[in-house]
Symmetry: C2
Subunit: 218 residues, 2 copies
């Protein structure tokens, strides 16, 4: 229906909307592969455990219009979300810490064709350095500066033990990284021109435990 590019101010898209767009796209891709051509807001909503209004509102914010009574065109919407959240030139990603978590992340990504590609891993373990693990070459931590510059890697994912978190973050920043995703339980500081996202698995589990406890004491 409406394929015109809208004067949407991406600057002001709410953080939560960005997250949901990523999730909508993932759900839409599955629908697309099944051959589904259209989808209703309430169908998307059901998958994500949110309301249809929220879906429509998010899509309004990115200037996408569906077809009345037919819903949204799956293919078009996938493409538009891509235009919004992907960088058309693609972005390269490095994983620092090729332990279980680092390798789990690589495998999660494997196969997901995307504008994001994990092109390097770093570790200090000599047994790992020089190997290709799950398709990603593992380099020594000392090579970080060089590789990140040479490959123009813009995002670093930290999956090292907590004790190394601060040093690794500093190294990444010095190497010129633009965004960090920190899976370490240790919060780190970065200059404000570097985007930092932190996620702490222990906190998530403790949160689940709290609400389970609350349910128990009802």
């Amino acid at each position: 229906m409406n394929k015109d590019s809208k004067p949407v101010s991406l600057k002001h898209l709410p953080h939560k909307t960005i997250e949901r767009l990523s999730q909508y796209r993932r759900a839409l891709l599955i629908c697309f592969e099944k051959g589904q051509t259209h989808i209703y807001s309430h169908e998307i909503a059901k998958i994500q455990h949110i309301t249809a209004v929220q879906v429509r509102r998010d899509l309004m914010l990115i200037g996408y219009s569906g077809t009345l009574r037919k819903g949204y065109n799956v293919k078009d919407l996938i493409e538009l979300i891509g235009q919004i959240i992907d960088d058309d030139k693609g972005i390269k990603v490095a994983i620092v810490g090729m332990g279980n978590l680092g390798r789990a992340l690589i495998n999660y990504f494997a196969g997901k064709r995307s504008k994001l590609s994990i092109v390097a891993g770093f570790d200090t373990n000599p047994d790992k350095i020089g190997n290709v693990m799950s398709g990603v070459p593992c380099y020594s931590a000392e090579e970080m500066n060089e590789i990140i510059a040479r490959e123009n890697i813009q995002i670093g994912i930290m999956t090292v033990p907590a004790d190394f978190a601060v040093d690794v973050a500093n190294n990444l920043v010095n190497a010129g990284i633009k965004g960090i995703l920190n899976y370490t339980p240790k919060p780190v500081n970065v200059p404000k021109d570097v985007y930092l996202e932190e996620y702490d698995m222990i906190t998530s589990l403790e949160k689940v435990a709290f609400f389970v406890k609350m349910k128990n004491t009802d």
Copy 2:
């Protein structure tokens, strides 16, 4: 100073406050181990990249009072947060999917003495079943019902491939689990008496990429 138990209504603690309390405690434990006895709100805030006001507000909500000009008593605060978010009887946790991510989580938890203990892992790989991995016994998926009931496991962490997510969630619910932490990129549905927390690593990375792209196009 103020050790009286307050008539705090835990029911109404904001979700975000719960998450921060977990993080405060982690930071406080490190301080405690270093021998630090008191801490200011702005010190906690700095560690967590938030404002001192927010810290004080959170502590107000749980009814904790510090000492003017001395800050908060580290030990007392650790204990109080424990009373709030921990279940005093302890809660047992199972991990479904003993791949890289599952084992990474076990290792993250190892050593963190806590009221939460991961007591069982489940997998379908015969090479893993029957082994003790990182201190956690791995059982066959078929034994899920039995083990969860026998051990009184209340929380399940899902670290299986996306295709198994829905089935695993149903099995966990049938086995009587009270809370699920889903690390699968596939959203699942549970009855509303089961607390569900979902986290999607791909979304997080795409979010970082979006903000990096935004910074680039400034």
